[in-house]
Every structure is written in C-alpha cells, then in structure tokens.
Symmetry: C2
Subunit: 361 residues, 2 copies
C-alpha cells in the first residue's frame, strides 16, 4: 500500500516532469509501456501477465498529443487535491467532473477516455488507482471466517471479527481493501467461491468453522477489490487459496483471473494476481466421478474451451487433461449440482476429498 | 413473519388435504388463483398488483396433473423436513436435490418447474418462500445509517449498529431479512439508492449522519430481500422512503418494483411493495433544471418510456408529465452526472432541495 502523501508525490513528480521539460525548452512528453497484445507476455517465472520492453511516447508535438497531456495535467491536479483533502471518487464521477473544469479542451469526451488516462497514470507512477482514491463502481467480496480485521474508515477505526461481529451475510470489504489490516486469524486456508448459493451453503453448514477456512465470495467474475483481498490473504496470512467455481469454461476464466491476472490489468498483476491459487472444481473429472447432473456443452462453451487450450495460462498438463476430458464428455455442471447427493455432500464429502487430494488440508 | 412451525403446519395441512380427498374417494386437487396477466390487476386502493377472482384447479385426473401433485407432495415433505431441522436451501439446490428422490416421476425436469411449484406453494399456503427457508441466489441490500438491528443467525444472535459496527461497505442484510429485528433507531427517512457509486458518495459525504438517513443500496433491480427490508423499514420504523435512481425508463422500473411490486410477484405485493415510496430523481425535470450532462435517448429507451405511459403504475399526473418531458427533450442522465457540479453538489444541494420539495425533510 502506498500512503496518500507518496501517491500524491508520484503524481506531482509527473507534473513536475512536464514543467522541467518546458523549462528546458523541450516539448513535454510521457513514456508508457506499449499496451498492445504483442507487448504483453505471460511471464512463466512469476506466473502472471506482464508488459514487455517496448514503450510508446505521448508527446505534445501534435494537437492530439498536447490535448492528452493537458487532460493528464488536469487529472493530476484533481487527484492531488483529492488526496490532500482525503476524499475519493469513482471513475464515472471523474468523467462527469471534468465538465466543471475551466478549460473545455481538458474535458473528457467519453468515459473510456478518462478510464484509459487513469490506467496510464497507474502505469507511469506505479501507484494503483485505489491509492489515488479512485473507487470502483462495483462492490467487492464478502468475507466469512476466523479473521479479525481493522478497517480505517472516515468515521474512525472499526475492529471486526469476520465470524463473531457480522451477520449471515458476512463482512463486506471496502472498495479499497488496502484500508483493511489483518490483526489476528485462525485461518488454515481460504476458499474463493463463485456463486452466492454455494457461499451460503458453506456458511450454513459451518464449513468456515469446522475447517478454519476463510470463505471469500467472488460474486461471479471477481472485482479488483476481491482479487486484491484474495492476494493479500494469501501473502500476508501465508495460507493456501483454493477457487471453487462451476465446471464450465467461463468459471475456469474466473479462476484464471484470480490466479494469473488478465491482459487488461497486466500492470497490476503483482498487486492483484495470486499465481499460487489452486482450482478445486467443479472439475470435468468430478462430473464423471461423482456422476453429477450436467447440461450438454453449447457451441459457445466448446469454442471457449478450445480457446482456453490455446491460452498460455491453461497450458499445463492438468488443464489440458481436464479440458480435453470435458470436450470428450460434452458436459458441464454447476457447483450446486452437488446437491443432487444431499445438502451436506459438498461439505462432508466433496470438499474434504478434493482439498485433501490437493494438499490443502 | 411466519414462524417455522406455522410454515410447517401450512404445508402439512396442504398434504393432509390430498390425504382427506383420497380418503373420501375423491380425485385430489389443488386450487390456485389463475396466474395469467388477465387475472392480475393493479389495485388502485392499495396501490399494488393483486390477483383477481379467477382460480384454476390442479387435479390428479390426468397423468400430467397427477405428476404435478406428486412433485408437490415430495416438495412439501422436503420443505417440512427442512423446517424441522432448521435448515435452508436455494431454489437451485431444490431442483438438483430432486434427483436424489426415490421416485423418478417426482424429479424436476427443469429449474423453471421447481421454481413455479415453490411459487404455487407460496400462493396456496400464504407463506413466503423465505419462511419455507428457501434462500434466493442473489444477495440483498447493504444498509448504512443510525439503526441498531438484531440478527438471528445459526451461530447465535448478533446486535449490529449499521454505522458504528460496520465498515465503509455497510451491513449486508441476510437473504431472509425477516431474521432481523429493529431494536433502536434515529432514522428520519430511508433513501434507496440504485448505483454503488452514488451509495458510496453519500456515505463518504456523511449524508446518513447529517440527515439521520438510512441508505439502502438497491444494487440495480432490487432483489426480493431488498424490497422486503425497504417495506419493513417503512412500516415498522414509520419513516418515509425515497428512491434515488438514474433518470431513464429502466430506473423508473426499479422505482416501480419497489413501490408497486411486479406482475410476477403479485401474490407478494403485501409483503414486498412499498406504495408510499416516492421518487427523488433523477427526474427529466432535473436534467433541464440543473443542466445535467446527458445522453440521447436510444430507440429502446423511447419504447420503454412509451410503454410506461401505458402502464397503470405510471398513470399519474406526475409521471405523465415527467415521461412526456423526457420524450420531448430526448435525453437521459445518470445519478453520477450530478458530479459535473462538484462532488458535494448531490449532498449539499440536490438532495436537500428535492427532499424538501417532496416533504421528506
């Protein structure tokens, strides 16, 4: 986590660069890694997506380039003031807020433009947008398990135990999960769960208590805040992370975004990705072994599986075997299909067997 | 709220009816209100959708009818056992679970079938599915405001103050909000907010503290649990409820589902709808008056507005005027477009002006 004053300094440094370039009689410019697909690589050593060596230059030597740097300067001023006043805003608010700026040329024409600029600033300064106090729109995970946290809020500190001080719905993490500190825990592993129905099943069956497990609700494709908290739980509490999702190609992508990051957020892999995260299931193998109720693969499923076979993140023996098996049996199953063996099967049998086989418990 | 044993009794009574009919040498049957659109009426007096007088009969005098009653009997047994053991399950789990039943004829062929049956049982018994302990898949609202609640959980009671004992993310209501009791409050009104970005803005600006307001995050089209808690806040705390959403026809529907219920859940209007709820905005009038950044209406927006003009829920002078104005100006605006006047405009100017004009504050 970057402190507010560090984040502010990084931004001011960037503006100071423009100033120095002007003072030296140079046309101001800003260097960025090239963000095309060909300059984004899967780094097999760290197990995440990273940028290659190529860079592009934004220069004020054209009207278009000058306008981009003008917008950057206004945005830097807004963000620096925001940090100064300890306030925050959303990406969408930034876009609308630019209408109040005194220079029409600095106003954003679309939200894509302001989003991209904030991403540029993240990359150039090495500070995440959360540390600029830019909040995402979507809310992140809920947590349930033997973990005591301290959250810094504008209304003072809150100490919350994620089992004893929360209702059935669990603890809702803030949009910037770096406002949380882990104070104490009794966690042996974290289980990141795709669907609300399964998350509620685990909580009702007391799985978090029985296994000292932190249940993280991914809510489908996980938000940045959810991936960040998962990463922090893994690194700071030094516990294994397992992802429990449906048995279809879209859910393997959910696992992939937790474990390996995404092309879009390649500059944040170090901050968001948990390459050590393992996939619990539903595995295609489970559909066969536990004879789970299944639906036939649709054409779009088959295409997605085939493109996963080409995806460097899934080029391991394990994934090739599972994906080929799935194409072979032509079936997919949901997490909740485990209920066909009774409501306790998932917590009494399936998860203990799988987590044991994976070496997690 | 129906107690577990009352809910169980209602279900057993229904099964006992089948039994008595058999004993009397009659072909068993079950009577239901006809659930076609023509038998659902907007009741102007209560201000919500209700069923008309027509009923249909499910009789075992055909194989198809007999199979429906068989499925009903198995489902009743499952639900009665579930209530007995104080457990719960999701609609999706019920569908999968039927695969474990010993009679193949009783198994559901699709989730639509099991969903419809549970709805039938709700209607016939007058007990909501939450009181059968059927949990929804989606999670409900978060609350932030001066409200002390007590939640019954499987792990004991939790007393939580929805400002002092929660983080920035607020209190996540349980899937069955009737597990909550309101213990104490200092609430003058509730504000149900569509988007996460705006909810976070109100919390950051301390609007809940400054105005003794309970901020309910609708999360787009509100889940049943969210509509239920909104209704309970209105009725039990005796405070006005205002809905704050985007200024487009889809958001007016969100308001409509909070205020008037929906055709699909006409049997639950008494339980879910808050006809007294008022619409704060964004009003088409506000787009003009505050000169908000706006997007042109798409064809689908225009169609939706025109169909709202035909919708009995929107046939009031207020809505006709607003919708016609919107068709006239051809624009829509989002809640967060208020940021074009600065980040505090919504809490310092817009909401106080609107809520005052509405008589809420």
């Amino acid at each position: 986590m970057t402190t507010e004053s560090d984040a502010r300094d990084e931004l001011i440094d960037l503006a100071a660069d423009f100033y120095d370039q002007f003072a030296d009689g140079k046309i101001p410019e800003m260097k960025l890694p090239t963000r095309t697909k060909s300059n984004i690589e899967y780094d097999t050593e760290s197990g995440v997506w990273t940028y290659g060596d190529r860079t592009s230059t934004r220069s004020a030597n054209s009207v278009r380039g000058a306008r981009k740097l003008l917008k950057a300067a206004y945005t830097i001023e807004f963000l620096a003031d925001q940090l100064d006043e300890d306030r925050s805003s959303t990406l969408r608010e930034l876009y609308y807020l630019s209408e109040s700026w005194d220079n029409d040329e600095a106003q954003f024409k679309s939200q894509d433009e302001s989003n991209d600029l904030v991403e540029d600033l993240e990359i150039v300064t090495g500070v995440t947008r959360e540390d600029f106090h830019m909040r995402p729109e979507e809310s992140g995970a809920t947590l349930m398990g033997p973990l005591l946290i301290r959250e810094q809020t504008r209304r003072g500190e809150r100490e919350i135990h994620c089992q004893e001080d929360v209702g059935t719905g669990g603890y809702q993490i803030p949009n910037n999960p770096d406002m949380i500190e882990f104070l104490d825990d009794d966690i042996d592993f974290a289980l990141a769960v795709e669907t609300g129905g399964m998350r509620d099943r685990l909580v009702e069956n007391g799985f978090d208590e029985a296994y000292n497990c932190l249940v993280i609700h991914l809510k489908g494709q996980p938000a940045r805040a959810t991936r960040r908290i998962t990463k922090r739980v893994h690194d700071e509490l030094d516990v294994p992370v397992a992802v429990f999702a449906d048995g279809d190609p879209w859910s393997y992508r959910i696992y992939g975004s937790v474990a390996y990051g995404s092309i879009k957020s390649a500059h944040l892999s170090k901050y968001l990705a948990t390459p050590e995260a393992q996939f619990v299931g539903i595995q295609p193998e489970d559909i066969v072994e536990y004879d789970l109720p299944a639906d036939p693969l649709a054409d779009s499923d088959i295409n997605a599986l085939e493109s996963e076979l080409e995806d460097p993140r899934f080029q391991t023996d394990y994934w090739e075997e599972q994906i080929e098996l799935q194409l072979d049996i032509g079936k997919k199953s949901e997490q909740q299909s485990l209920a066909s063996r009774g409501l306790d099967f998932v917590t009494d049998t399936y998860l203990p067997e799988r987590l044991d086989a994976m070496g997690v418990i």
